[in-house]
């Protein structure tokens, strides 16, 4: 059985990052939109905090900051939905 709280936190990060990325595209075209800037800043911050928590608990999401306990290649990889839980 896979860790449910890990799944939940990852889903939260996906939601925050999607909000950030979608707003990134919008800001590319409308860089001075105050509304988009606020939205971007809000979700970028939430995403950063959630990622920090995730990485402390479950290992790196991207290129590791330091080498102690190298978990970078540990599964499950993102596409391994069920079989490895």
């Amino acid at each position: 059985m896979m860790n449910n709280s890990r799944e939940r936190l990852l889903k939260q990060i996906q939601a925050y990052d999607f909000a950030v990325y979608d707003t990134l595209l919008y800001l590319d075209a409308y860089p001075s939109s105050k509304e988009a800037q606020c939205f971007y800043n809000k979700y970028k911050k939430l995403s950063m905090r959630a990622k920090q928590e995730y990485e402390q608990k479950y290992g790196p999401l991207t290129m590791p900051e330091e080498t102690a306990d190298w978990q970078w290649t540990d599964g499950p990889w993102p596409w391994q939905a069920d079989e490895r839980r």
């Binding site: 990052d17 991207t62 970078w72 290649t73 540990d74 599964g75 990889w77 596409w79």
Partner: protein, 202 residues
């Protein structure tokens, strides 16, 4: 998922445009041993790879290849800046120019457009990793051949970096093959395909 970093992996700064060189080097973008094929090869193969460490190597090398796609494209961009129609005709770059102007488009030096028929994702651990080893050697040879044909130090500097990475990737795939074989039956490596036949739990 992938994120973009606004930098090249290694600097590309070419002072003198040279469309003839561009026409040769474009093969490492869209040619049979080019960087697009390399990145797609590893990033597709990793889905069938049953060993986490090897998935990591395929992911990280495949990602580095995307950097190399960008570096080769930057070389091509800088080699084809501010050309006159005279220079284009004289250099033989006209056959590329007529279809793509100075836009970056993945073709082989022969003009044949990029095709995924140039690589395999076989879904077999040993076949895929052996393809990867051969691919790195073939790309290394292409860079060696480019270095035989090009004598601009600015161009050679970037090409030498890319060539060296082929050698390093080859070594990492040797490691990957070793890791994979450690998981397999040394009495009969071909008894089953661990990417398909789910016989053993790792």
């Amino acid at each position: 998922m992938f994120l973009y970093e606004k930098k090249l992996q290694y600097p590309v700064k070419i002072k003198n445009p040279n469309p003839k060189y561009a026409q040769i080097i474009v093969s490492q973008l869209g040619g049979p041993d080019g960087e697009i094929g390399a990145s797609l090869r590893y990033l597709t193969q990793r889905f069938a790879m049953p060993y986490d460490k090897v998935v990591g190597i395929l992911t990280d090398v495949g990602t580095e290849e995307l950097n190399h796609v960008e570096m080769v494209s930057s070389i091509l961009y800088q080699l084809t800046r501010s050309l006159s129609p005279e220079e284009i005709k004289k250099s033989g770059f006209d056959t590329y120019f007529v279809d793509h102007t100075t836009g970056i488009y993945p073709v082989a030096a022969s003009g044949y457009p990029y095709t995924a028929a140039q690589f395999q994702s076989k879904g077999d651990v040993l076949a895929d990793l052996n393809e990867d080893l051969a691919a790195e050697q073939k790309a290394r040879v292409t860079y060696d051949n480019i270095l035989r044909l090009v004598d601009d130090p600015d161009v050679c500097d970037a090409i030498k970096f890319l060539r060296a990475r082929e050698v390093v990737h080859y070594q990492r795939f040797c490691d990957a093959l070793g890791i994979a074989q450690d998981h397999m039956d040394s009495k009969n490596f071909y008894g089953y395909n661990p990417a398909f036949d789910k016989v053993k739990k790792q």
